[in-house]
Subunit: 207 residues, 4 copies
């Protein structure tokens, strides 16, 4: 029945999508209420369950949909011909940040979904996440030129350090944002911060 949902008129489809997105992003799987979703999407209870067999299917569909939207946009914005890995990782950070601005609800939902603990969806989400990492890591580092690294550097480990560091920066900033009244993320500060680390990595790893 999801196919029927997909061929729905755009306006109503989006109303449903957004309502569900917001509800689950805010309250997680178990706590998210289909009641609230239909209310805020202004459709009837029955209709939701006409398109989606149950809450679980809706949630999982939403996850797949979000990932698709994000990945699509992500790779459109990445210049895969840039072979310098540090520059490419910098691009990743930039694009991530731009996407946070563009799809705040989707990103919120996906973030929350990643840490979802409800047994009912947990495994399914983890499975999809793992599949994603595999394919995408490969794609993300396609065409990377490794010859710039100093000899003697364990390249794989170096890349790990870079990735983990960028993750560390994001997480730290998000945590900070949570403590401020409005929860606004200061993107410019993150970019500046990241640049300092990037310089350190270049000096350390590159010839």
């Amino acid at each position: 029945m999801i196919s029927k949902f997909l061929s729905l008129e755009s306006e109503k489809k989006n109303r449903i999508l957004n309502a569900a997105l917001k509800e689950f992003a805010q309250k997680g799987y178990k706590n998210g209420s289909t009641n609230e979703i239909v209310k805020s999407a202004e459709i009837s209870k029955g209709l939701l369950f006409h398109y989606f067999k149950n809450k679980r299917e809706l949630y999982l569909f939403l996850f797949d949909y979000c990932i698709e939207v994000l990945l699509d946009d992500f790779y459109n914005k990445i210049n895969l011909s840039q072979s310098n890995i540090i520059e490419r990782l910098r691009q990743f950070s930039m694009v991530k940040i731009k996407m946070l601005e563009r799809y705040p609800d989707i990103i919120r939902f996906v973030e929350v979904a990643f840490k979802e603990d409800s047994i009912e969806v947990k495994n399914e989400i983890e499975e999809r996440t793992n599949k994603l990492s595999d394919t995408n890591l490969k794609k993300a580092f396609e065409g990377i030129d490794v010859s710039r690294f100093k000899e003697g550097i364990d390249v794989e480990k170096a890349i790990n350090i870079i990735i983990w560091t960028f993750e560390g920066i994001s997480n730290t900033e998000i945590k900070k944002a949570k403590l401020t009244p409005l929860g606004k993320i200061d993107y410019d500060r993150i970019i500046d911060e990241a640049d300092v680390y990037i310089e350190m990595f270049k000096e350390w790893f590159y010839k």
Copy 2:
């Protein structure tokens, strides 16, 4: 009434503690069921609420209790006279890993609690977490000798990179372990892995 609970005979106390721990670790605050807890602790409904005013008090008590257990053990195992920061961080990683073996449920619970989103306990948990970070970061880096770093290195950022890398290693290994049938963590591999990174850091950051 929590005091009454604390002076309970060890066996029953542990039955209750473990039942609650497992339930909340698996399903989070909102989804965790006191029904299940009493069932698996083999006590009556009434008794749980004899000791704990409500679900929220039980959850928060559990959190405090777990943190106490973990911190106690953590600082017992750390040699605070080791002033070399990389060595101290290596100690942290080792101890963390040992604790994962020793208190798997407690650690699982605390991890889940940190990301708990239920409005009913979220703020309380965040507050406690912040208090903890403040006191413990200071304690953890007490007596650290910074003079070993090369001149020109941004020490704060260097430490961040080290910390995030160790976190990255742990998370990666835990993820790997989840995918294996028994979910066993291969501690020796982690230690070896970490050692390689440590050598890199020493070379990079130290005189």
Copy 3:
């Protein structure tokens, strides 16, 4: 959602109304059980709370509904052009008695509601009661001709005596009825009884 309830098919609506009425009349607010109500109305738990947000809203709705029914009928039966106060009070007593026959459950519920002590509804009920007294006392004594009273009589106090006496008669008779096996009220006796008092009052107060 009460509006939905109101536009329900008469038969089911009445089943719910009567079930709630009887339960609360018998056991009061706190002790009245929504479980019992749904059981005796033969509807599901969920449905009751589909129509009424919670027990409190159901109770208060019931009160408003009863008052409306009673007042409507009351003023339909009173001849407001009768300006003789004693005659009007006699009418009141007669109508009251007729209504006791017609709406025994409603009257029972309202009586119990007036003396309800549960903090959760007490104030709300009192507030509504006060509003009612204000408007209705005026309406009840509209167009009353006071010139028939002997000079020197404190009219206000005289009216009080008359009202309290009629109340005393009703209460006494109701108490008597409770002691008889079937609890039947002997309306004819009450009317005769009241007439004797009315004669006394006329002689005493009127010119």
Copy 4:
């Protein structure tokens, strides 16, 4: 076991009595909590049920005890040689008021008990109340001299009117008191008010 309770040392007995009195006066039978009673009487749960088989027995005992205290004091204060009925009724009012000041908790409890609706105790209370009325009405009007009434007056009805009027005054004043912030009853006003009615009755009924 109640006999054991009665021979308890005065201080503890009163602690229990008062705790129960206050709890039930405030919350009624069903809502009154034995938990609260033992807590405020500072005795153990078990002890309460050692003396009283169950909550019901405690409640009913309390009722009997209160009635006994009140009646004892009442008749001590009434001058049964006063044969003028209006004067005797005036005495009743005075004594009632004095007792309200002296035993506020007991009176509150008894008032609430009279209107108690819980099926578990309702009938028992009603039965006792009826027995009381019978014996006490006789005692209250013992030695009344009826010869002062004008001829042609239906004495029984006249007395009813007087009683109901005094009840009406009290109820009205209590209602008024409830609406003022502190709920204080203005005894002097009630006395003055009653006196006016008494004068009316004397003029009307007496030779």
